[in-house]
Symmetry: C2
Subunit: 194 residues, 2 copies
């Protein structure tokens, strides 16, 4: 990657953290540009027209091209590095966990973290409030599956802060806890809040 890379982000987002962590582990420099999602800064006409029509961060800018979706950006940075398995099945299996993360894990564990820690329980709509136990159960199911099998950076992002919502206890998932410690000990590791 020879072009300048700019991460359009909100620091506390686990989806943004994934990209910073991937870049850090690979020693790749990225510039950072902050948007306050609580103030709707990713829903402005300018953002929708120029950065991401889906109105979401993170977006990895590579030269004058824009790449939304955190796991696609991680893939872009990591291609041909040791972070991606060298064999065909292994690569697809890595993608399998990244899709699992966006379908079964993030909409539950990350959304509950955001609702409880950012929006605030008192400010939830009735529809959101009704979904809290549904998402909590689905989040437990995702953590249970992880507890039995391998995971990766994409899953680390929101798993290691799953307790932020007050609705998950990582002590219930011993293998996940041990894996979190292994990830945090990797050379080049950076914490979320940096």
């Amino acid at each position: 990657v020879n072009e300048v890379m700019i991460l359009h982000e909100y620091t506390a987002s686990g989806n943004c953290f994934k990209i910073r962590l991937t870049a850090a582990l690979l020693g790749l420099p990225i510039e950072r540009r902050q948007y306050d999602i609580m103030k709707g800064e990713t829903r402005t006409a300018e953002f929708l027209d120029n950065i991401n029509s889906n109105g979401r961060i993170p977006v990895l800018q590579v030269g004058d091209r824009f790449l939304p979706e955190s796991n696609a950006a991680c893939w872009y940075l990591a291609e041909s590095s040791a972070l991606i398995p060298a064999d065909r099945f292994g690569r697809a299996d890595m993608l399998r966990w990244m899709f699992f993360e966006q379908y079964n894990h993030e909409p539950n564990v990350a959304t509950l973290r955001f609702w409880m820690g950012w929006v605030g329980e008192d400010n939830l709509s009735d529809a959101q409030r009704a979904l809290v136990p549904v998402k909590q159960a689905a989040g437990h199911e995702a953590l249970m599956i992880m507890n039995r099998q391998l995971a990766d950076i994409a899953l680390y992002a929101y798993t290691h802060v799953a307790e932020d919502s007050g609705l998950f206890a990582l002590a219930d998932y011993q293998a996940v806890q041990a894996w979190i410690q292994r990830v945090a000990a990797l050379p080049g590791y950076v914490p979320l809040d940096s």
Copy 2:
């Protein structure tokens, strides 16, 4: 791919169709094994232990290895073929749309198709019923984004049958309609119901 491949599937599922369509466009033979999701056949102990701990189809079996997540299976089949862009940014951008599909499109457009056409509106739980308008709005938003930009097999699967739920009209999305016709005209194309 020299090993025997078996698709563990439910024919009417768009996620399963993606894999069949990818294999058909590439001329790759796959065997098929059917599970009735309405009878819980993907939640048996045997399925959870041997096929997919996440209790879901599709799963692409390659020899004695199992690959869940439809888009990961499509990637596995298509790697190094003309279906995947030759340049690094293009590959990541393709993944971007696949992640968009699983996060913004499938949980809305596909879930509503399943709820209205399989479960039946009268059998929805109160929580599900409350989510119908939320998911309909989010599905419209995803189709609107597609209407302005390019898409792929992963998005085709549930988009071309979006009207099944009775909650989306594809005539509202002219560019998407034209693109559906182009995909259906590809050499080697196979319909969902086959």
